[in-house]
Amino acid sequence: MEILVCVKRVPDPAENEIELNSAGNDIEQDDLVYSVNEWDNYAVEEAIQIVDKIGGSVTVASVGDEDAEEVVRREMAMGADKGLLLSDDAFENSDGKGIATILKAAVEKGNYDVIFTGALADDGAAQIGGMLAAMLDWPYASLVNVIEADDSKTIKVGREIEGGNQEMNDIDLPCVLSIQTGINEPRYVGIRGIRKVASVEIPQLGASDLGIDPDTVGAKGAKVKRVDYFMPELGEGAEILEGSTDEIIAELVERLKAKGGIK
């Protein structure tokens, strides 16, 4: 099975404190460190496991500037066979549709059976996979947390839905799936692994290589634009109990009694 996994380089919340800059209109960029989006990492692991089981190859693609090469390389160190860097000045500030447009062009240059994306990324939009599928006219399933693939033209996927339940579907190939965390346990990639693939050539494709009209992507093609970052004035919020621990506990016990919390 030929699998393309779309990955994004993001500031990982586990290693960053996302704060506003002094002007209060953007996040503080100094000191940010970047890694691969957590969901995408699960997607790559899943792709590698499937290929290990039934054969094929895994390609990892990322839309971004040259820095994005770092995450593509990391995923190759994980076990992906090929990397693709989709990079062009015209791609900057694309909205979700713009990114999907670029990825669609990359998909069409290859011969893939399945496209994986992460279910969501740092912006929480959860949109790329669904858009890409619609553009390709391929079936789509989001929030996939189980995949049963064999050699047939159909695979079985489970989606994580409300109540902790799982919605099982048959889906025809080729298709697009957005992968939810917890679907597997991604393997560790150490510095040694990254060094081993340090010299592997990662092809870089721009708008003209992909046959994309620059006006349909990037800031020009974006219908959705982020204006700024901000922190709202906080509302009233909770009444914070103050005093010594004993005083707090006494007060809290009173309140709980009044509300029927202590039977």
Binding site: D12, A14, E15, N16, E17, D31, V33, S35, M78, G79, E185, P186, R187, Y188, V189, G190, I191, R192, G193, R195, K196
Partner: protein
């Protein structure tokens, strides 16, 4: 010499001269033995390289101390004394056994040097030795069969019980002792009966007992017994020799080598591959141990040498806490795999399978805190930490790292600390308002210098609670009049656990960055309050100024009067000191912290049941804090109970990880309010004049 009985060299049985047996038994025995040993040696030649030939004098010293004098044996008193009795007996009887074999061919054979007076003396001496060995064997057998010490038990998952093998060997040894004595006694009785000059039988020896029993036996009976005793001894001797390499009694042969080649330096970890420099590591095909022959030859020799005594596992805190790790079975399973891969029956060597998933489990390998209790205890110098680290190196390369450890490892790569906190906040603990009022901490760089560098390390820099250790350390250094500074954001994690968790390349990255920053700071001395940092900087780094632990500095400052302490604040409390593994066992620092506590006037200090080099690990430091082991009980809880049993109210430790684990354990054990834990630096800080 004419003797009263016909010797095995002269006798005939059914028209066959018995000397033929005397020749065939040793020849066949030696042939079989040689075949076994060659096959046992094969894996050692196919194993990874090791470097064990340096410092020959020190190595000989180890052999004298651990092998000849059996220095570590009495740590378990009864078993140790029994072992020393049998071992000493064996050494004494070695010459006699050799003579016995040759007597079968030539009755007048005498080992060079054993003629005359000395020979006479030796005979008496070895008769007592044989008697002692028999007695020890009987006691040992009773102990194994009836008393059954818990540490010999074999949990079901590790296979069947080993008692039968142990008792069988004790039986073989007893037969050797009895047959040798009977052979000698029959000759003596016959001499007495025939009126020739009888040799002297030392009173209360086996020979002496046999002589008494056989006084009235007929010459022909004596003759038969004489010959039978001889060939029983001869057969048993060569059977025993060939039996040794088939199991745990291989140690009888390998232990002297194992001790000679044992590890010489504490606190270090072996390189990824001996003979491959750090710069060449990228060229290595594979990292760590994944299959049997990836172990070094010394580590395979360790497997052969394990006597299955169970002391390592008896001391192992992971085993005590119910984690899926028992160092004893790391060795036994390894040995059994060698036997299976290099079978004696066919002599055909099998291909090696991956170790993880066949004989070892991932959780087993990650369960080790590298506390070193097992290695400290092993009577014959078997190593575990290097093996565990090598296995982890293999797991890391294959990406098989528990999810709970991946986050901190990634954070270390990105931020130089396992918490993913920002580099520029590393010195925030020194900028707290209240603290800054009385204590200013310099950040060393090109412009700012100091005599001493305080290496803080990650947990003390970033953990809310442990920052207090940093502040206390700074105040104590200031009070002692030491000119010091820190590296601030240039400091990275020391990497002690990164290396020990098998991520060698990341460790080297940390080491490179720290080494550069430390050398740039240009200090004359490095001190730290974190034993893990101490160990890394001292043993894993090269070319740094001397590294000392804060307890050494405090002890020294108290001795020269530059630091003075008030009498102990709370005279009603009983203190006990918990030895951190990386301070005690790995760096031999036991006395300084105790001297510091005792310097508090009026302090009451007791020792726990396990202390100094038998200290019980709190649960592990560094990355171990992130690992979620399967366990029945936390190590820390077991440790806190030991403190309680010793009658202590306050546990003093000298390591932020111990503090973290023990503080937690006190809560889990429900001992809040009646047990507390404090860091040594904090204790001293509280008592500064």
């Amino acid at each position: 010499m004419t003797t009263a009985l016909i010797s095995p060299a002269q006798a005939w049985v059914f028209f066959i001269p018995t000397w033929i047996f005397s020749l065939l038994i040793p020849v066949i025995g030696m042939a079989v033995f040689t075949y076994i040993i060659v096959l046992r040696l094969a894996p050692l030649f196919r194993a990874a390289p090791d470097q064990r030939t340096d410092q020959p004098l020190k190595r000989i010293g180890n052999v004298l101390k651990l092998w000849l004098v059996q220095y570590r044996q009495p740590r378990y008193m009864l078993a140790g004394v029994l072992h020393i009795m049998i071992f000493a007996g064996f050494l004494i009887l070695a010459m006699r056994s050799m003579s016995m074999v040759l007597i079968g061919l030539s009755e007048d054979f005498v080992l060079p040097g054993l003629g005359g007076e000395f020979g006479h003396f030796y005979t008496i001496f070895k008769d007592y030795a044989a008697t002692m060995v028999l007695a020890a064997c009987i006691i040992a057998a009773i102990r194994r069969v009836f008393i059954k010490p818990a540490r010999y038990a074999v949990p079901a998952k590790y296979g069947h019980d080993h008692t039968a093998e142990a008792v069988f060997v004790l039986g073989l040894i007893s037969i050797l002792m009895l047959s040798e004595s009977l052979f000698e006694a029959t000759a003596m009785v016959a001499e007495t009966q025939t009126g020739s000059q009888a040799a002297f039988a030392a009173p209360l020896t086996l020979v002496w007992f046999f002589k008494l029993m056989l006084l009235n036996a007929s010459i022909s009976a004596l003759q038969s017994m004489h010959l039978i005793a001889y060939y029983v001894h001869d057969l048993t001797f060569f059977f025993f020799l060939c039996f040794l390499p088939l199991g745990k009694h291989f140690h009888v042969i390998t232990s002297v080598l194992n001790v000679y080649f044992m590890r010489m330096q504490k606190g270090t970890i072996k390189p990824v591959r001996w003979g491959v420099s750090d710069e060449q590591l990228d060229d290595l095909e594979s990292f760590g141990v994944k299959k049997l022959e990836d172990f070094t030859w010394k580590h395979l020799l360790d497997f052969y040498s394990c006597a299955d005594c169970g002391r390592c596992s008896d001391q192992c805190p992971a085993n005590a806490a119910g984690r899926p790790l028992s160092p004893r079975f790391i060795s036994i399973k390894g040995r059994d795999l060698i036997f299976k891969t290099y079978p004696l029956k066919t002599g055909k060597i099998h291909n090696s399978e991956p170790l993880i998933g066949s004989i070892y489990e991932e959780d087993e390998i990650w369960s080790c805190t590298t506390c070193g209790a097992c290695e400290q205890e092993c009577p014959l110098g078997i190593e575990y930490i290097d093996k565990i680290v090598d296995l982890r190196r293999g797991l890391v390369e294959d990406g098989d790292v528990p999810q709970s450890l991946q986050k901190p490892l990634r954070a270390l790569e990105k931020r130089g600390n396992p918490y993913g906190k920002m580099e520029r906040k590393r010195a925030d603990w020194s900028k707290a308002k209240e603290f800054k009022k009385d204590c200013q901490v310099k950040v060393l760089d090109k412009k700012t210098s100091a005599d001493t560098l305080y290496f803080v390390d990650s947990i003390t820099s970033y953990d809310d609670r442990m920052q207090q250790i940093g502040q206390a350390t700074a105040r104590v250094l200031q009070a002692a009049g030491i000119d010091f500074g820190i590296l601030g954001k240039a400091e990275k994690d020391s990497g002690n656990e990164i290396r020990r968790f098998g991520e060698e390349m990341l460790f080297q990255e940390m080491r490179t960055q720290n080494t550069e920053a430390i050398l740039k700071a240009n200090a004359n001395l490095i001190i730290t309050a974190d034993p893990h940092a101490l160990n890394a900087l001292k043993n894993d780094y090269q070319g740094l100024p001397p590294v000392k632990h804060i307890s050494e500095i405090i002890a020294q400052s108290l001795a020269n009067g530059s630091l003075q302490l008030k009498p102990v604040e709370d005279t009603g409390k009983v203190y006990t000191y918990h030895d951190p593994c990386y301070l005690g066992r790995h760096n031999d620092l036991y006395d300084a912290p105790r001297m510091v506590i005792d310097a508090l006037e009026g302090v009451q200090r007791v020792e726990m049941a396990k202390f100094r080099d038998r200290s019980f690990c709190c649960g592990g430091g560094g990355l171990m804090l992130f690992y979620e082991p399967e366990e029945d009980e936390r190590m820390g809880v077991l440790r806190v109970r030991m403190a309680d049993d010793a009658g202590a109210d306050v546990i003093v430790t000298a390591c932020p990880f111990c503090l973290a684990n023990i503080e937690d354990a006190i809560k889990v054990a429900g001992m809040e309010g009646r047990m507390e834990v404090i860091d040594l630096a904090e204790l001293v800080d509280r008592h500064l004049v």
